[in-house]
Each structure stands twice: as structure tokens, then as C-alpha cells.
């Protein structure tokens, strides 16, 4: 039986899920995309067993039905090669899928639909509604602090938890930490203190796929999965088991040295010093002085950069070293005009925030100078 679809209507959902489709052929079916076509919609599903993406193209107006799995990248490349608006005819013949468009014909090897590993519905459907735009901001402003390939596997992800009427995200790689909060709307089954860890891969996919739209979206939490329903796209991520470290204890509550500083000026000074900071270690020296904050970077070739951010500082002078990339990551993630640095001594963590009212806080551990 033939199924006739418009190129765009099928290419769009396939491209949306291609990000999780494996390039390596570890398990052949994981390089396939599950395609479901009926008269109402066209859907494509891709998975890497950690993140599952389902993209749905509603009102696609396809003639005929189809239910199969095809090699994702090849299928997308074939569809892409046609001109816009091209009609494509698909016909399943045993384990082969015949594709015809104009004078071109392709035959692809399919795999049984039943072999495709689907997550299914989350088991205990507790859920909360949040603004899509705010969720995107939350991820954007915290995810860079996640660890990468750490043996402490629970750091290779983003901790999501609920505190009061807020959803909190915490990321840390053991050297720095980012914490942000957004308000939640209506919710069901969410308990105070409830928390999960979303693996790095899932977080990066979310960061890529969530848009700036001002609409409410639903996040559902199961025992093993988190699912975000964007309507045309459903993102399901496995959760990481393991105990997230007690991050509250490393956030300084008070500090001997407090400095209010314009974010943009500090950022520029750090970017300049970073040019001559050691390429591997990335250390810069921050000198708190009465004239302001002096930023010094030097490398193994004894080249040196120095910049002074004039700012009123009444405390005692002292010096502390930081990985300049960690500082710049934080300053790039913030959008406030003025920020506050709070630190006790060169051996304990430094807090960067915007005072009590801010929703985002960052902690960086210094380097020994």
C-alpha cells in the first residue's frame, strides 16, 4: 500500500529527532527512526536509550498509513535532496521501504517496529507546569556548570528539585556550582524537596529544543524518567540515580570581603587577562585593592596582562586566584548590570549573585596561587 506525503511534512519531524540518533552502529536499531503516518499526523521517534524524542507534525494530510523504522540519517539526507513541496511516495514491502519522488527511487532496509525501544508513559505521573521561556532560561543559566565524564556520575547532570512554589536547578562539577530557580504554576503530586537528576545528554537536548515561547508547558516526573511535553515535541529523559552532594553547605552565607561591581566591565577585564592566561590552567589573579579590582593573567612564557576595574572597595586588600573560564561562564550566564562577589579568604568558595532578590547564584572555588 502506498503512502503519499509532502516532503516538508515528514522531513521536519525526522530532523527534530535526529539529534539523538546514533552515528555509531552499536545497536543497529538506534540509528533508525520510528515513523508513524496516519491521516491525522506524521510522527518520528528517535532514541539513544537515554533521551527519547517524539516529534509530531499534526494535520499533515497524508494519504495512507505507515508504521516502520528506517535508517534516520539516510532517510533525512534523501528527503533533504528533493526540492521543496515535492510529493514523496512510500511503500513497505516486507522489510524494505520503497521511496519514490519524481524520477528518483530508493529502497531502504527497515527494522521491525516492535524492536524499537520505547520508554512508554512515566510510571507515577506527578507533574508541574512552568513557562517554557523561563525553563529555557533556567537551563541556559545553569547547565554549563555540569560535570563531564566525572567518575562521580551523578555530577554529569542537572539536579532539579522543588522548593516551595519554585523549581530549582543545580549544576556542579566539583569546582564551581550554578543554582537557579523559577516559579511553577499548577502542579500535581509534587512534594516539597522532591528532586531528580537529569543526565547531561538530556539537558543538552532540552537546551537545544526548548524555545523562547511564552507558554505553559508540562513537566512530568516518573520514578525513572522525566518528560517534557511541548505539544509538537515530547522529550523524555532517563534520570540518573545517585545522591547529589550537599550543595547548600558550599554556598557561602556571609563573607568578609564583599564587592559590588559592574558585570560588563568585569567581563571585559577578564576577557583581556584571559588572552595571556596559561592555556591549560587558565588561572588569573584577582587583587582586591582600594582603587578597585585588579585582574592579572600570565602564562608560561612570562607574558603578562593586567587590567584595573575601578570600583569602590573599602575592605582589606587581598589576592585570590580563579580559573578565568569559570568566571567568564558565570558572567556570560548573568544578565544583571551589577553583581556582587562575596568571599571569605583565598582558600574558600566565592559567591557571585545579585543580592538577596536574585534567582540565580553561582559559587566558584579558587585556585591556589
Amino acid at each position: 500500500m502506498n503512502t503519499i506525503v509532502k516532503r516538508e511534512n515528514i522531513l521536519k519531524p525526522v530532523l527534530a529527532v535526529l539529534g539523538v540518533v546514533e552515528r555509531k552502529q552499536t545497536m543497529p536499531i538506534l540509528s533508525n527512526v520510528l515513523i508513524k503516518i496516519n491521516k491525522n499526523s506524521i510522527s518520528a521517534t528517535g532514541t539513544d536509550l537515554e533521551v527519547e524524542l517524539v516529534a509530531i507534525e499534526p494535520h499533515a494530510g497524508a494519504a495512507g498509513e505507515l508504521d516502520t523504522t528506517v535508517p534516520g540519517r539516510k532517510f533525512a539526507d534523501i528527503l533533504r535532496s528533493f526540492p521543496e513541496g515535492q510529493e514523496v511516495t512510500l511503500a513497505l514491502d516486507g522489510d524494505r521501504l520503497h521511496l519514490k519522488a519524481g524520477r528518483s527511487r530508493f529502497t531502504l532496509v527497515t527494522q521491525p517496529v516492535d524492536d524499537f525501544p520505547l520508554v512508554g508513559e512515566p510510571e507515577t505521573p506527578s507533574h508541574a507546569h512552568v513557562s517554557e521561556r523561563k525553563l529555557r532560561e533556567l537551563i541556559r543559566r545553569t547547565h554549563f556548570s555540569m560535570a563531564q565524564n566525572d567518575v562521580r556520575y551523578y555530577l554529569n547532570g542537572l539536579r532539579i528539585e522543588f522548593v516551595g512554589k519554585h523549581m530549582r536547578a543545580v549544576a556542579t562539577d566539583g569546582h564551581r556550582l550554578a543554582l537557579g530557580e523559577i516559579e511553577i504554576g499548577s502542579s500535581e503530586g509534587i512534594q516539597e524537596g522532591m528532586g531528580v537528576i537529569v543526565p547531561r545528554k538530556g539537558v543538552l537536548e532540552l537546551e537545544r529544543l526548548i524555545t523562547d515561547q511564552d507558554r505553559e508547558i508540562r513537566i512530568a516526573f516518573g520514578t525513572n524518567h522525566l518528560r517534557i511535553d511541548l505539544g509538537e515535541l515530547v522529550i523524555t529523559s532517563k534520570l540518573v540515580e545517585g545522591r547529589f552532594p550537599d550543595y547548600q553547605s558550599v554556598i557561602p552565607k556571609d563573607g568578609r570581603h564583599r564587592l559590588l561591581i559592574e558585570r560588563e566591565r568585569l567581563k571585559l577585564a577578564l576577557s583581556r587577562a584571559a588572552i595571556l592566561a596559561n592555556e591549560k590552567v587558565r588561572g588569573v589573579r584577582l587583587c582586591f585593592e582600594s582603587q578597585g579590582l585588579r585582574v592579572v593573567g600570565h602564562n608560561t612564557e612570562q607574558e603578562e596582562a593586567e587590567d584595573l576595574v575601578e570600583v569602590s572597595y573599602g575592605g582589606e586588600s587581598f589576592e585570590v586566584g580563579f580559573n578565568v573560564s569559570y568566571l567568564l561562564d558565570v558572567l556570560n550566564a548573568m544578565d544583571d548590570r551589577e553583581i556582587e562577589l562575596l568571599i571569605n579568604d583565598p582558600n574558600s568558595s566565592c559567591l557571585i549573585d545579585t543580592g538577596e532578590s536574585g534567582n540565580y547564584r553561582y559559587v566558584i572555588m579558587p585556585m591556589r596561587l
Binding site: 556542579t172 566539583g174 590552567v281 588561572g283 572555588m365 591556589r368 596561587l369
Partner: protein
């Protein structure tokens, strides 16, 4: 164009090459060997000739030749067992003396060193004068002859040093290097072996002079930066700098022979602790740390080792020993072992980044600093965990990869 004689060379690189190093030391230490054909072998049981004296070489004896074959060529050949610690001491004295000429010294092997004399010209004048002094200095501290090549780059200097042996001095001023190398077969240059040689020969490039006809892209496309370097090398313009720093090791490890078929867990643990302490102290001495360690025991079936990881990169013996205990618990099934091995697989400069969660205890760091200073002054394991009182008293053994300084200077 040659510059005026008084002008400094744009670059001045010398290679000091000790002549028949091990054999010359034997002849100097034992006067009865002087003027005799001498071959040095690994102990008296070794049959492979490590090096031979010039008298032996005149009979056709070469490094790598087997003793029976050498005896056929030269029946009066005298075999001497190698004395590595002695050679290492002489090498160390020579290298230290050469540092008087220039601090820009690269120890190329136990008997070869590159000297970058470019920057010393201001202080010491002409490079030719400096290499003459270098030969005097070498002879003063070792009583041994050496050959020296002087030019504007490493490859030409090395080529020049080979021209007159023993006890020679060859100067190829940088502005003459290209012409002097012109007719030299490429494979005579240091670092160009048959692989690259065949690739070039297939393109009709046999001598250094031919190289000018080949676009540099032909070499860089196939061999990358090395290819680009070879293209310059052939024209007497080798850009490779004299490397004063010893490159980071790919791995760093210690092993020790156990009593045959050791099965006693206590004994194994003590040996592992011994190696962990040694390795951790060595990592700290060179400002290194590592996160992946290969822990293993050698049985009759060979070395059974597993790479195990610590949470964070470390140079603390306690954490390395904990991996050894994990190994014994999870990978050792009670079979008899005759060697322990502990190797850091990814040594890197120790990080100065602080940890938010459970970082290294600052008291441990201070303890290590004190312990390392005491042990450096009063000898290895003067201060050590009490358990090591029952450690093996087998002497340390010198490794073939030994170097006079840096992380390989260890026994």
C-alpha cells in the same frame, strides 16, 4: 651570504656526541683495556653488543651484533659487562658541566646533548669558541673524547657531528648548511627512516637538494607538522627548538619482584603499599598527579593488570593504595604472584584548582610536603607508614629509560 666574521649567528646549535661512550668509560677506568678491542654487553651472560671501542669497530664490529659473530671477526675481543650506574654518573657529570656553557641544553640521550648557543653569543662570543670550550669541559670532567657538530639547526648539527669521529669538530655555518646538505641522501638525516624515505623516493626525492623541487604541501598533507619539519630539515633550516624541559611522561610506575608464588594477602598489601608510596612520592617530586592507575600482579600467565580510577586526580599514596586494595578484592582470585606493579597512566601537572566537595585534606598536603623534604634529605622511606617496616629490602634497580634529570631520574 656569509655575514661579517664578528657578527653573531642568527641561530647556533651544537650537538655533543660522546664517542663509543660505554666502551670509552671502560677503557678510561681500566687502563689495561686501552688500545684493545672492547665490547660492552648486558652482564656477562648478555650476548648482544651494546657498544664497542673504536679498535673493535675497525674489525667490523657493530652495535647490535651478537658476540659469537663478533668473535669470528675479532678473536681477541674483550667482553665487558655494562655498569649502568657508572655510565649514568659520568653522563650526569658531563651534562652538568655542559650547563656551564649554556642553560639551553637538551639531553638527547645518555651520550648526546644539543646546546643552543644563540643567546650566549653576547656573553661568550663566537659559537666556534664555545664548542671548543665544551669539548675541553667534557674532557675535564670525564676524561673522554667527544665529537661535536655545530650549525644553525639541530639536524645539520647532528649530521656534522657524525662527519669526524672520534674526537672531531665540524662546523657548518648556517649560511652554508643548505649547500653542504645538498648531495646528502635524506635517510642520512636524523629522524628520516625508510617509511618517509620511501614516500619521498616514490616522488623522485632522494637527496636533501631534491627536496626544494617538492611543494611543502606534499609532505604536510601526508605527515602533518612532522612533514613540514622534514621539508625544512633537508634545507638546513630545521625549526625544532632545543628542548630544555623533559616532556611529560606517558606513564610513571614502579614494580617489584615478590617471593615466588606469593599468596599471602598481607604480604601483597605491603608490597602494594611500598609501590604506592614510591609512586606517590615520585609524582609529587615532579609536581604531577594522575587519576587512572594500572594495578597488577604478575603470575605465571603474565601480568594481570586493570586500570582503576580515583575520584579526582591525586598524588596521595593513600588513594593509590586504596585502588590496590580494590584490585585485591575484585580482581585477584588468590593465585600466586611473583611481581607487583603500580603505574600512573595519565600523569599531568598537579592542579591548583580547589574542590567544593571533599577536596584533598590540606593537612595531608602539608604532611606530604614535610615527609618529602625529610626523605629527600635523609633517604627514601626515612619517614614512611609503619607498615613498610616489613617491606622488601631488595635493592632498587635502574630502568633502561633512565635520564640524568627529570621524572626519569629514578631507581
Amino acid at each position: 651570504m656569509p655575514p661579517p666574521p664578528s657578527a653573531p649567528w642568527p641561530r647556533a646549535i651544537a650537538l655533543v656526541d660522546m664517542n663509543a661512550f660505554f666502551a670509552s668509560i671502560e677503557q678510561r677506568d681500566f687502563p689495561e683495556l686501552r688500545g684493545q678491542p672492547v665490547a660492552v654487553t648486558n652482564g656477562l651472560t648478555g650476548t648482544c653488543i651494546i657498544t664497542s671501542s673504536y679498535e673493535a669497530r675497525r674489525c667490523g664490529i657493530r652495535t647490535g651484533m651478537r658476540l659469537p659473530e663478533a668473535r669470528r671477526l675479532c678473536p681477541v675481543l674483550i667482553q665487558r659487562p655494562a655498569r649502568p650506574t657508572r655510565y649514568a654518573a659520568v653522563s650526569r657529570a658531563i651534562m652538568a658541566a655542559l650547563l656551564e656553557i649554556t642553560p639551553d641544553l637538551e639531553v638527547f640521550s645518555v651520550d648526546e646533548a644539543f646546546l643552543d648557543l644563540t643567546h650566549c653569543q653576547k656573553a661568550f662570543g663566537s659559537p666556534v669558541g664555545m664548542v671548543q670550550r665544551a669539548r675541553e669541559v667534557v674532557f675535564r670532567v670525564s676524561g673522554l673524547p667527544c665529537s661535536v657538530g655545530l650549525s644553525g639547526d639541530k639536524t645539520t648539527a647532528k649530521y656534522a657531528a657524525k662527519l669526524v669521529k672520534p674526537n672531531g669538530l665540524t662546523v657548518i655555518p648556517p649560511w652554508e648548511a643548505r649547500e653542504r646538505l645538498c648531495a646528502v641522501p635524506l635517510t642520512d638525516l636524523c629522524g628520516i627512516k625508510s617509511g618517509i624515505g620511501d614516500y619521498l623516493a616514490a616522488r623522485g626525492i632522494h637527496t636533501c637538494g631534491d627536496m626544494a623541487h617538492l611543494p611543502v604541501g606534499e609532505l604536510s598533507r601526508r605527515f602533518g607538522n612532522l612533514g613540514r619539519r622534514i621539508w625544512y630539515m633537508a634545507q638546513g633550516l630545521d625549526p625544532d627548538p632545543v628542548r630544555t624541559e623533559i616532556a611529560l611522561p606517558r606513564s610513571l610506575g614502579h614494580g617489584k619482584i615478590l617471593p615466588p608464588a606469593t599468596r599471602d594477602r598481607e604480604v601483597l598489601e605491603t608490597y602494594f603499599l611500598h609501590m604506592a608510596e614510591k609512586l606517590a612520592a615520585r609524582l609529587r617530586r615532579h609536581g604531577l598527579e594522575a587519576q587512572t592507575f594500572s594495578i597488577g600482579l604478575r603470575s605465571d600467565e603474565g601480568l594481570i593488570a586493570y586500570p582503576l580510577r580515583t575520584t579526582r586526580p591525586t598524588n596521595d599514596s593513600r588513594e593509590i593504595f586504596a585502588l590496590c586494595q580494590t584490585y585485591l578484592k575484585e580482581h585477584w582470585a588468590g593465585w600466586g604472584a611473583h611481581q607487583v606493579q603500580v603505574t600512573a597512566l595519565d600523569p599531568r601537572p598537579a592542579s591548583s584548582q580547589g574542590e567544593l566537595f571533599g577536596g584533598a585534606d590540606p593537612r595531608r598536603r602539608r604532611l606530604h610536603a614535610v615527609m618529602d623534604r625529610i626523605n629527600e634529605r635523609y633517604g627514601e622511606f626515612t619517614l614512611a607508614p609503619a607498615r613498610l617496616l616489613s617491606r622488601s629490602d631488595m635493592p632498587n634497580v635502574i630502568s633502561p629509560a633512565w635520564q640524568p634529570s627529570g621524572h626519569r631520574q629514578t631507581v
